[in-house]
């Protein structure tokens, strides 16, 4: 009697912990824990975290993480991601090498940048609870670009890529038009649109939530085209004397969609599949907050006036000397 009670208790605890795990969001976190920041550095124009590698070649990092919000992040370790599937695709849609390692900055997904364009990283976890299969897809798009490689065919190379046969549920960030290029970094005030796709087809009615690292969040239901548009908030306001205007903030977008399986399919262990897809990213304050054309015009006008006055005075001095001669 006691033995069976103990078994039931264990099963209940396990199932409750699994449920708790499922209701937590999983994502490939683009920033490390605060206390290990000294082991990594922000690199390049896109402000990605990287670790110095051999011969000066950097290894870029994503940290598998979960939590209820971006302020309550639990970084996963090798045990928790044991059953996870990881993928990394190059802009040419080819598999790329990556490694999962216990680094000084925590358990991380490490990769090199090869070809120019967006590299897609995925982490997939599946949980079966009662009659529902939860498929949690954590996606990250990372842009590789070096100006020395040129800027040809930018629009073609930055197009979002999807893998419907392998990744059943996807979320893509539609590129800003016009003007998104290799040097693009999302700014406060920008309107950013996400498209939700199930096996390559647009999903209407999916729940999409945009959260910032200051816990601002908004949920939108996708329209006919499967899109949800958010305006990136401005939630970083430096004090007057502070010159950290390009401070990088982070956002996480989560899409959720449940599919009911065909009732005729009696062999299936579950009746529903609940898909979630997360997509993290960086954004900076709007350029209009720290760039001023007005002051540029003032500087130019004042400089022109000063230079002209200097030239006029020096010329008149020369003329005086010449006239004396």
């Amino acid at each position: 009697m006691i033995k069976s009670f103990f078994i039931v208790l264990c099963i209940t605890i396990f199932s409750l912990s699994l449920e708790a795990q499922v209701f937590q969001t999983e994502w490939l976190c683009p920033y490390p824990q605060q206390h290990v920041k000294q082991h990594v550095k922000i690199s390049g124009m896109q402000k990605y975290y990287a670790m110095p590698g051999k011969y000066g070649k950097e290894k870029f990092i994503l940290w598998p993480a979960k939590g209820n919000s971006l302020t309550e992040v639990e970084y996963m370790d090798s045990l928790t991601v044991k059953k996870s599937q990881f993928y990394l695709f190059s802009p040419d849609r080819e598999y790329e090498k990556y490694s999962l390692k216990n680094t000084k900055s925590g358990y991380a997904f490490l990769y090199d940048f090869g070809k120019e364009g967006y590299h897609n990283a995925y982490m997939i976890n599946k949980y079966l609870i009662h009659d529902t299969l939860f498929i949690m897809i954590s996606k990250a798009e990372r842009l590789s670009h070096k100006c020395r490689n040129g800027h040809k065919d930018v629009q073609k190379k930055i197009e979002p890529l999807i893998y419907p046969n392998l990744i059943p549920f996807e979320m893509i960030r539609l590129r800003m038009k016009p003007g998104e290029n290799y040097h693009f970094l999302l700014e406060s005030g920008n309107h950013v649109t996400f498209k939700v796709l199930h096996r390559g087809k647009e999903v209407k009615g999916a729940e999409v939530t945009f959260t910032t690292n200051k816990d601002w969040h908004k949920t939108i239901i996708t329209n006919k085209k499967g899109t949800a548009t958010f305006q990136v908030p401005s939630d970083y306001f430096p004090s007057m004397g502070e010159l950290k205007q390009k401070k990088v903030s982070y956002y996480l977008v989560k899409a959720k969609f449940t599919v009911a399986l065909d009732s005729k399919d009696t062999n299936s262990q579950f009746k529903y599949i609940c898909y979630t897809c997360t997509y993290p990213g960086e954004y900076i304050p709007s350029q209009s907050l720290y760039k001023s054309s007005f002051w540029a015009v003032i500087v130019i006008v004042v400089s022109v006036l000063i230079i002209s006055i200097i030239v006029i005075i020096s010329r008149s001095e020369k003329n005086k000397i010449l006239s004396r001669l």
Binding site: Y55, K246, S292, S308
Partner: protein, 339 residues
């Protein structure tokens, strides 16, 4: 054959140069509208900050390439630095510094500002010998800085802290091409002061002051900015291996000084130097105005792979200067009359 030779020697090279400059200005500044992209290694001032550019300046390439840790240079990055440099040298061997005189779009804008000054009848400025000597060093200092700063951003020199990333492509941040060339396509977005950090405030303010200097300076002094241009300094390092050469036959020179007077940069050595055969100086932009203004037969020659393609002749000189009113020579005549 003699007729062709005579026709070329008597021709108005300045007019030909102006036409070439306009063609290349259109290609390099507006070429992007028609998806033209010449290369990324060509030493143009086809500034990449101009979205519609038809090429890319080599200086931005080299600054990005040098932004690497020392160890990086013994890998793929070293190869890319080397190949870019070799492409640059390769093209430079063919054109030598005539790129500055005939093709550089920033140079073309300066020539147009000179024409504008003439239109207004404003007197032009020249440096005196002392200023000329001291100011010409600036371009070498700028060249060294633009090579060292990117290295200092990735490496620590003598245990000093690394240079801030806000100094990325430091020369480009200050170069007037960044503001002027996009403005030529109607894009004024490069005119700004960036208040995001102390470094960016200093750099963008300096850039605006340099832009103002560029306009006023180029209006009053011919090819004002070329005198400080690090590209000119970089090109001069390879001038001796160029196939295009400016040759002077010293014993035919009468030291009349016409060549130095018409020189947009104001190089006196071209008149004074009777010893050296190859007289491309570091500030020379190979516009060949000196050859046009030389009244002595075969004294100055433009040679390509040893073959004379243009030379000074008395007939050519009188033909050209009886038609055109060259401002410098007119001034000189007036001055000599006063003397």
């Amino acid at each position: 054959m003699k007729k062709i030779r005579k026709y070329i020697d008597n021709s108005n090279l300045s007019l030909f140069r102006s036409i070439i400059q306009i063609i290349f200005f259109i290609i390099l500044v507006y070429g992007g509208f028609k998806a033209i992209s010449i290369s990324e290694k060509i030493p143009t001032f086809a500034c990449p900050y101009n979205v519609r550019t038809g090429g890319t300046c080599y200086l931005i390439n080299i600054q990005h390439q040098l932004h690497s840790e020392w160890a990086g240079f013994i890998t793929w990055r070293g190869i890319s630095v080397l190949t870019a440099l070799l492409t640059f040298i390769g093209l430079f061997i063919i054109l030598n510094k005539s790129w500055c005189g005939f093709i550089c779009p920033l140079g073309t804008i300066q020539d147009w500002l000179t024409k504008l000054r003439r239109l207004f009848g404003v007197r032009f400025s020249r440096y005196n010998k002392t200023s000329f000597k001291s100011l010409k060093v600036i371009k070498y200092i700028v060249l060294i800085l633009l090579l060292v700063i990117p290295l200092g951003m990735s490496n620590s020199f003598f245990g000093l802290p690394k240079i801030t990333e806000d100094m990325s492509a430091p020369y480009c941040q200050l170069c007037p091409a960044r503001t002027v060339l996009p403005a030529a396509t109607g894009d004024f977005t490069q005119f700004y002061i960036d208040f995001s950090s102390t470094t960016t405030i200093i750099m963008t303010t300096l850039a605006m002051i340099i832009t103002a200097l560029f306009f006023v300076g180029s209006f009053l002094k011919k090819r004002f900015f070329c005198f400080f241009c690090p590209m000119s300094a970089l090109q001069f390092l390879f001038a001796k291996i160029g196939l295009l050469r400016l040759v002077k036959v010293g014993n035919k020179c009468t030291s009349c000084g016409n060549c130095s007077r018409v020189c947009d940069i104001g190089i006196n050595a071209i008149a004074d130097d009777l010893e050296n055969k190859f007289i491309v100086k570091d500030d020379c932009m190979m516009c060949f105005k000196c050859v046009e203004a030389c009244p002595e037969n075969n004294c100055l020659k433009v040679k390509f792979t040893g073959l004379t393609i243009f030379r000074s002749t008395d007939e050519g000189f009188f033909k050209r200067f009886s038609k055109t009113k060259d401002y410098n020579i007119t001034i000189d005549r007036k001055l000599s009359k006063n003397d």
